[in-house]
Symmetry: D2
Subunit: 228 residues, 4 copies
């Protein structure tokens, strides 16, 4: 069960935090796995590229890359090949995170590559209109994250519920199947609960977990909020 | 000895070739290590980000990242942190490869980061003028690679020797210490020999080794050419 | 009548061709105006930024910028401000041309700016999926141009009619009002006729007119093809 | 005399300020010309692309573009062609302003294009190391501007004199001829005087003039500071 992605889901983006680099990344992934096992809530992790292989070996929960490039194998020094993150053990990838925004044609090309390679595509979007725009490209997951709330601890689900409800409305007119997550400022169980109540199928979270004094306890609180 | 970078040196850029991804990347790195052990010639490898950790565990030769970003730890999804490639086992990084060109101020910032973190900087340059420009920023290694010869099998050291001699002349006026490599089209031992004869301290090579039918034999030929 | 944009429409993209720079740009715009007057067919021109003011003074047909940046007035050296192209006399702007592709969030931001400033937005798209993606952002015009046909003289309307019909189908599911143009390889009147027959409301053309020996005659042929 | 660039020189960057767009840009350029005529101090202006032609017709002082792209005439929608800014009347162009930073290889390519086309190259640099790096590429003018002081009113020449003296020292080791300007925070005559005293040959200024209540008076103060 663990290896599969089920909804509701929590995806923890490790970004380039030192608290989630190298050995600390593996430890954090193990805590996520522990919570997932204890609560039966699906939890995925998105570590740095260099840590994917070690984490995929150490845990059974879904592992995501934070980005891949719209390239085929070949002469592309310094780029991120779909095959490389897949063979390292990633089951999918974030695409177009607000800290790594992409050209529209590259988003389209990367989603196509993830389909061909059997990777799960998690496309991030800044606002409801962009979420709808992304929905036409048929990714498996859309994560709506207002950039102005990222890292603030002010949760989108409480501070801007209309961003989430507008997103769901616009996206569902276009795409009935895509999984919709929300993110930005999610730091307590009640933020997660609010996100689900508004109609999302989970959350994308980063500093709320990674920079927490006790990531296990907070992640457990998130998972309990989903379970109840 | 193996772990240190000595000149003359051969650096093999794995790019995003499938022949040098995941397990095949580790195998190729082991062949490079074997040649290095047999010939006492310094050989480094620059695999994809996802393969750095496995390769650094499997071999004792220098491992390089293909790129890092000009960032500090923090909120930078999908970026390459110096600390992440270092903790994974890289001793340095390529910077500004012609397939991953950077803004001038980013090259400057990345070189400073490599100094702070104790990583070896290998800055690539398209032509003699750009090599001189880079030399002022005090990287440890400059690799001159005319992009129009990359992947052609037509070696810069034979087809455009003046590019190499002009580079050495211009760079040495500015920087006496920087190690100068050349690349592009290097596919036979005699190309390597020509490169050294022109005054470089080694070569940066990719398809000539990675796409070779028998990488071990070609790499051995390269190393012999250096040794003699 | 001339100053307004009516459909069907022909938009001539001057790109950075010398044949359509400075005085030659003004001359070409005058030829476009002449054909428009003679045939009552709406024809717009998209010259280089430096030529917008002179052309807008010299002719009465619609003038478009080739790009604007997603910025507000202020400290943005070397960028293209909506106000600057509008005050110079442009009535709208191309956005996301395949030779000047943009991040999805920038396309969204630029369309919003064009609405606020009363500029007509002409968003270019590479393929049917991207056209649909763009349609959700509510531009006034979408121009579908398969990049592999640009500049070839092989017209999309004859070589890849399914690209056009797929685009129209996908776009109309999302947006009933947006004007749909097609481009790439349009070089004869029959290409224009085919484009309209497939359901588009006009064409975006560049080298077919700009590089023609006799632009007036070809443009007249295009306009006749629309009129009949 | 006016049309030529002489040192010491003041270059006024109009950026994308509304106070320096369209007619207001022409008016501001006329004030600059008036001060130049009255004081015999060389003053250049760098307006937006759309305003170059009108300004070049209206005044006799040097006009600069704020950016050009490293392209040849052809199929490059939305780009800035050297020929287009030259034919519009610009005598040169800013390159690599901190608000429009470029890849190193593009800086090199653009400088070569300016040489071929007879345009004056004014390359901006963030710090002394980058200034030296740029000096190897042989532009006609280098403008050192610490980005953290831009728009602050805290002048580099008073707040960070060592940035200027370090720049001059490093640049002169490499290039004896290049004209060195400084910028960022220049807002009073004494800032200009300090800049010259430190060894520069003029200033690059933007908000200090453009956003001033009375640009003529401030610019006159700048010019007087140079004359005395």
């Amino acid at each position: 069960m663990l290896g599969k992605l089920q909804t509701p889901v929590i995806i923890v983006n490790f970004k380039t935090y030192l608290e989630a680099t190298d050995e600390k990344a593996v430890e954090l992934a193990k805590k996520a796995e522990k919570v997932s096992l204890e609560t039966k809530v699906s939890i995925g992790v998105a570590p740095q590229f260099t840590d994917i292989a070690n984490i995929a070996k150490a845990v059974s929960i879904p592992v995501f890359a934070q980005h891949i490039d719209p390239i085929q194998p070949g002469s592309h020094t310094g780029h991120l090949l779909a095959e490389s993150v897949k063979e390292a053990g990633a089951m999918g990838t974030l695409i177009n995170h607000s800290e790594r925004q992409l050209k529209l044609s590259d988003i389209d090309a990367i989603i196509k590559i993830t389909c061909e390679k059997g990777l799960v595509s998690v496309v991030c979007a800044n606002n409801p209109a962009i979420s709808a725009s992304v929905a036409t490209l048929k990714p498996e997951i859309i994560a709506i994250e207002p950039p102005e709330l990222i890292g603030t601890g002010i949760s989108v689900s409480k501070a801007k519920p209309e961003v989430i409800t507008d997103t769901i409305k616009l996206v569902r007119e276009i795409n009935k199947k895509v999984i919709i997550l929300c993110g930005a400022g999610i730091s307590r169980g009640e933020d997660v609960k609010a996100a689900l109540r508004l109609g999302t199928q989970g959350v994308l979270v980063a500093s709320g977990i990674v920079k927490a004094k006790d990531p296990y306890t907070i992640l457990r609180e998130f998972a309990e909020a989903i379970r109840i």
